[in-house]
């Protein structure tokens, strides 16, 4: 008998039995009427493959240490050919996995596929859901940016609330005395070794059980013949996967969202927010004050997961048709709806008092950074030092402050920053702190150059927009009291107006034209 296939296939089949392997892997009899809803599992396998391959690519460049993690991820996106797409695929692939797991679970619930004898496979699936979420959580610590750091702090503190063993789990997750180098290596090992190994074992078990029991198929027996998985269902799977692959590449083409500023345990103006798929849990935590917090962080998520695990025993009727299973499907739909609403509420929450605009000193500093030769002689495209851009500054604040005071000192962290009250220096330091936290400077409405002068000559004594000295009056609303001409007179020589004025005359220090511009700027403060 001649067998189909070329000589190589025959040679391999004689030695490795690849035809048997194909039979085991692909010749799966499917109940009639199996169709598009049964492609969700293949979508997850596709997502898993994308995450494994792109993860290996990222691991070729990534360094899991606090002083290099941010820089190495930044290098992947800016210095590696195709690196931006690679990180984009891994980032959006993670979101795809979460969405696909949710759709897959919803499909199983609505089709009642967890019913006997598939209870065990359902439980394996729920464990895999947790593995996917654990991948997301451990993955976004790795860039070691602000979001990474604070999400980790919050996660470890949540685990501390677990009854009895909370402290033990928290220190197991943290590794060292604080969230730092030992936490990063621990989470890295979990993300690239422990969880992938667990995933391979659990997915193999999930597929083995699926093949052993056969798929559940439509909720009622459909007319028609049973069909093999390969090739007709495989084509359906591939169609859905192909569409999603195009969507994924489209999303990833411009890369992942930019890195946030490097982790800074002392920063006080950062607003920590988790990745979108944890926003629902984040929002839930706000509703349980004081000693009830454990309800939001542990009890409710625990009850939801327990309910899911027990579903095959809660929903035990004979029929799998949705109309006979309204209570269970109602609870599931309501839960999904609540999770969606919580996620939306979490996404909309931005504490207003922290999203303040740039004050005059910070704006003056931004103007100096862009135009002053002390900065631009070294920083810029094709210069010896990198351009100064929002969210791209990895040096710690005290390094930056020392560097601004004395840019020649290459490693300012080695000694204390000298004290300074030079107005330009203060302004540049303030603007760098803003840029470091990722805030883009506001557009220049043509007043920046005046603001540099205001910062240089006025803010040592006067308070404007909450910054400056307190020896003179607060000038934030001075335009309500004085017109431009009156202000101009006072700047040139205040003694003309008030004989005992403490303020020095500035007429001989600033050009007449600049004084006019300063006066006009203050006259507009109302």
């Amino acid at each position: 008998m001649t067998r189909p296939g070329g000589p190589i296939a025959r040679w391999l089949d004689d030695r490795a039995g690849i035809r048997d392997l194909k039979r085991v892997l692909l010749d799966e009899p499917l109940p009639a009427g199996t169709a598009w809803w049964f492609t969700t599992g293949s979508v997850l396998l596709f997502g898993l493959a994308v995450q494994i391959v792109t993860g290996i690519g990222l691991a070729l460049f990534y360094a899991p240490t606090p002083d290099h993690a941010w820089d190495s991820v930044s290098y992947i996106t800016t210095g590696v050919l195709g690196g931006r797409l690679l990180r984009g695929l891994h980032y959006w692939g993670a979101s795809l996995m979460v969405v696909a797991v949710a759709v897959h679970i919803a499909r199983v619930v609505f089709f009642g596929s967890y019913r006997k004898p598939r209870e065990l496979n359902w439980i394996v699936g729920i464990i895999l859901l947790h593995v996917v979420l654990a991948f997301g959580l451990t993955g976004y610590l790795l860039p070691w940016d602000q979001r990474a750091y604070w999400a980790t702090v919050v996660t470890i503190n949540i685990s501390r609330q677990a009854p009895v063993i909370g402290d033990w789990i928290a220190s197991l997750l943290q590794g060292g005395g604080q969230v730092g180098a030992l936490t990063l290596t621990r989470w890295y090992a979990t993300h690239v070794l422990i969880l992938p190994a667990l995933t391979v074992v659990l997915v193999a078990l999930h597929l083995y059980l699926m093949r052993r029991q056969g798929i559940s198929g439509p909720v009622t027996t459909q007319p028609g013949r049973s069909e093999m998985f390969f090739p007709s269902q495989a084509v359906r799977d591939l169609t859905v996967v192909g569409i999603l692959a195009v969507v994924l590449v489209g999303l990833a083409w411009r890369g992942a969202p930019p890195l946030e500023p490097p982790a800074d345990p002392a920063s006080s103006d950062y607003i920590p927010r988790p990745e979108w798929y944890f926003l629902g849990l984040f929002q839930l935590l706000k509703y349980f004050p004081g000693r009830w917090e454990v309800v939001g962080s542990i009890v409710i998520p625990g009850l939801v997961m327990t309910w899911l695990v027990l579903l095959p025993w809660i929903d035990r009727g004979r029929s799998r048709e949705p109309r006979h299973r309204r209570p269970v499907l109602g609870v599931f739909t309501a839960g999904a709806f609540i999770a969606g609403v919580l996620t939306l509420l979490g996404a909309m929450d931005r504490p207003a008092h922290l999203v303040a605009g740039w004050n005059v000193r910070e704006r003056a500093g931004a103007a100096l950074i862009e135009a002053d030769t002390r900065c631009t002689s070294c920083h810029g495209p094709d210069r010896v030092a990198n351009p100064i851009r929002p969210g791209r500054i990895s040096r710690p604040p005290d390094w930056l402050n020392a560097h601004v005071v004395d840019p020649i000192v290459i490693a300012p962290g080695l000694r204390e920053a000298p004290e300074t009250n030079q107005p330009d220096t203060l302004a540049i330091q303030a603007a760098l702190a803003r840029l470091r936290s990722g805030a883009p400077p506001p557009a220049d409405p043509g007043t920046r150059q005046v603001e540099v002068l205001v910062n240089r000559f006025c803010l040592n004594c006067h308070l404007v927009e909450g910054v400056g000295g307190k020896d003179g009056p607060d000038l934030s609303m001075i335009g309500l009291k004085l017109g431009a001409d009156q202000i101009e007179m006072r700047v040139i020589d205040p003694k003309v107006v008030q004989a005992d004025a403490m303020m020095p005359a500035l007429g001989d220090k600033i050009s007449a034209e600049d004084i006019k511009r300063i006066a006009a700027w203050f006259a507009a403060r109302k």
């Binding site: 240490t65 606090p66 002083d67 604070w150 702090v153 919050v154 470890i156 503190n157 949540i158 033990w168 220190s171 197991l172 943290q174 590794g175 060292g176 005395g177 604080q178 730092g180 180098a181 030992l182 290596t185 621990r186 800074d264 345990p265 002392a266 920063s267 006080s268 103006d269 950062y270 607003i271 920590p272 984040f282 935590l285 706000k286 509703y287 349980f288 004050p289 004081g290 000693r291 917090e293 939001g296 929450d349 504490p351 008092h353 922290l354 710690p396 005290d398 909450g466």
Partner: protein, 157 residues
Amino acid sequence: MSTPDPRDRRSALARLVTAGVGLIGAGLAGLVGLVAAPRSRAPERRWRTAASIFDLPADRPASAVISDRVADGWYETRSQTVVYLDKEGDGYRALLSTCSHLGCKVNWDDGTKQFRCPCHGGAYDREGRVIAGPPPRPLERLPVRVNPQTSEIEVQL
């Protein structure tokens, strides 16, 4: 002497293999557990200089960053702890800026005269007592003293 039943011999060997594989597994798991298990270490508290008494504004708490070189495994890093210093009667008060809910950094908001947590909406008054939101405890108060020679506020941290 009776010959042993070969079935007994087989099941004894099967138990032996199971026990051997179990022993190897337990040994490997124990090794990983030993390496990964958390070690409890009580952080040592010391007096540290936070700020000069002349740097404190009268109308609001002032933040001070206390930097310290600390060992973090193989790595030496600079820990930065933010405390809020304030006048209290004849003395001073120092509050740790870490929210008692889940550890985010609180800010002093001059508009509402409250410490606000940017994460889950916790709010504390100027003395660190909880006013709103999920925090279960007030902000942690740290022992404070003033160094008479230097007029600097020292905080035990």
